[in-house]
Amino acid sequence: MKTPGLYIHIPFCRSKCLYCGFYSSTSLDLVPEFLKALPLEMDLYRSEFSSFDTLYIGGGTPSLLSAGELGAILEATAKRFTISSRAEITLEANPADLTPLSLQAWRRLGINRLNIGVQALDDGALAFLGRRHNRSQALAALQAAGDAGFANVGLDLIYGLPGQKLADWRETLRLALSFSPAHLSCYQLTVEAGTPLSRLLARGEIQLPNGEALADLFFTTAAELEKAGYIHYEVSNFARNKDLLSRHNQKYWDHTAYLGLGPAAHSFHGQRRWWNHGDLGAYLGDLGKGVPPRAAEEKLTRDDLCLETLFLGLRTKKGVNLRDYLRCYDRDLLSEKSEPIALLEKKGLVMIKNGCLRPTLAGLAVADSLALI
């Protein structure tokens, strides 16, 4: 049994970005109340969880909390659970919030990994996305993070923006690579329901690149980063070496348990998934009554878990471990799906290596269809 991970959602932003589907509120006056409620939620899970070896503070914009506030959260966590000594502790940060002072403070708090939401390195793109920072702030932030001594700095980038040319994207990648980041997440711009982006698209005010262009962007990204020596360990995630993968995120893909605290946070334990209200008011209300702020829960059947193992595993370079699959589900994937797998192998979309069913790069790009076998 692998050690579980802990996710804490900070549901506040100064402004909402065009594309973001994560829950957050701009009513920053509610921060104190949220900070008081969070430990109450932790208390509700003390019997079910005891220790974690990753802690991921995401949002929203966690970096808009003061160092003091972040410290209080970490302290409350440490009081109730065991955070292993070599835990990976990640803070998501907005480039505009990275000052030498805050960086120092975060290091002192024990945060050992930063994930910076750069998204783009072009002012036009940044404005389009509704980001709070500009290109020079982004570059300054990357510099400052390195200067402050963070060894494990990752950044997020988005491709597939309207009108974005392949050459522009290559430039962005090269610029990002010049900082030698420990980690890169390169996401295709995804239209989430209910976002301003979805409305723009619906009204025909913007046009996104077609399937061919998006495929080109994906494969170009993979090629560029591979050339620079990065490990393409998941569809959108790259690490400079094997010790710099996001240990927390990997738990999502290998069915390790995780607890999610805060509004909209998701959890997985045993064979259950549950998630909290995607609303600060409802979250606070339930905790005020001493009730877990859950919106819903599901119990997974064996078939559900099998399908999850498949589609989650096929998103990653190491793929689906066939022996583990057999042990877990009493199913021999190779013989059950021998024909479809043989066909996929023939077409160069998967390979069987070291007892794992692994996607090739071409297979990774169509991983969702692979999972349908």
């Binding site: 995804t190 995120n249 999610g260 998701h266 959890s267 589609f311 077409k347 979309l349 169509v366």
Partner: protein
Amino acid sequence: MENIRNFSIIAHIDHGKSTLADRLIQYTGITDARTYKDQILDSMDIERERGITIKSQAIALPYRTKDGKDYTLNLIDTPGHVDFSYEVSRSLASCEGVLLLIDAAQGVQAQTLANLYLAMEHNLEIIPVINKIDLPSADVERVIEQIDTELGLDPDNHLKCSAKEGIGIAEILEAIVARIPPPQGDPSAPLSALIFDAHYDSFRGTVIHCRVFDGTVKSGDIIRFMYNNSVYRVEEVGHFMLSRQKREQLAAGEVGYIIAGVKTVSDVRTGDTITLDNRPCLQPLPGFREVKPVVFASIYPIASDDYQDLADSLEKYKLNDASFIFEKDSSAALGQGFRCGFLGLLHLEIVQERLEREYDLSIILSVPSVRYRFTLKNGIAMEVDNPSHYPDPGAIVSSEEPYIRAAMMLPERYLGAVMKLCMDKRGSNSTLNYPSPGRVELSYEMPLAEVIFDFYDRFKSVTQGYGSFDYDLIDYRPSHLVLVDILVNGEKVDALSQIVHRDRARARALQACERLKEEIPRQMFKIAIQGAIGGEIIARTTISAFRKDVTAKCYGGDISRKRKLLEKQKKGKKRMKMIGSVSIPQSAFLAVLKSDND
């Protein structure tokens, strides 16, 4: 007999036929609306959705006029599509009059006219009824004018109603009594009863719906079906009310049912005459036609495990559909299935929908075909309706295809377009007739194969719905035929093969490739589609593979949603057939026949 009225309601689609029928039934008090809906209207939902009726439902309504006399008003419902025009005509032949229903807001529409022509052919008394007068957009004056100018009927003799609001119902019932003539007939003459429908009841067997013209029939009588001289002993006769009501006898002029130990509906022929075995009538009633299936297709279960379920469902379905035939069949591409015969493409679609919905089956239908004739070198003559049984081309001496004579009625302004359509369909030997100003009667001889698939839809389209179309099989004529095969990634898919006239082969092959390209979704690998005759490729298209479909993010909050989406997609995939490595949706097989301008 004086106190009987036999009538039907005819109308353009959605002009309120069912609602009016409901009101008449409610008004005469044999039931309240809810019970009626629960019992009768809940069945046949596929029919209601398509706005057509497949079965002729009859119901006897007791009515007392204003001046206190009692009558029985027999309302006979009619099916409404050219595939079933024979059934419509037999239902109308059982009536003396019709209510011609016209929507007050929409006015006279295509089917109003088409139905009127049909009623006139049967010399029925026509009562125009303007419905939906409650609508704010109702323009009754305009409709009255249309009754005069477009229908050529006496505008002063119309009625007004709102079936929805229950207005004008009493007047309609009075008019039915006053204006529709009572049936004529001699109850003491030899029995002569017209079968206009039949259905299967799991408790009682086949229930025959009939209109007695002469004579009487009662329980214990030995009756004879005149089409094949089979005899049966009558167990029960009666009237259709909310449920069947047993009666002592059915006499001349009445509409009702006969139960006589007839095993299946296939033993009964719509339009046949029932008479007494020991005292038969001299002649059967006019208008009888042997209804034969003319289009054939194979049905396969998508999952071979479902074969038995499919077999059972086909048996169950057949209990209530005499014109549907089937027998075992198999395909190299699709496995074990059944070869089925239908009256037309609509019939086929209805059967398909019924199997999927009522019996919850995932099925594939092969490309439909008509029945061709071949004479081979060794003297053998064979009939082929399954492309996979196409004989060796080297052995064929002659080939023939079935021809029909199409009888069309349309407003003159569409004549040019319709003639062009018929010529496109290899039509010949046309005749033209002007029965009244502005109206044209056109007939053409055409190959059945050209007509069976989308002729009716295109005909309706070029006449904007105002044309009516019916056809009769005439004979088989020599024709140069070839077999067009479709290959998917180099593999021949026998269920997609078609027997085509030589001159049409290239176009048909191209069309098939184009349609398949539209219907088959892009997949992880490239798909090459080719049309071939003999070994020669005469058409080809390619469906490129998609290179990326994976979503960018999959973190804690995305997993549940993604799993559900994949489960849904898996279900969708189950409705597609894997041919080699290609997933082909069911819709592709029928779409292959749709021509470009649909």
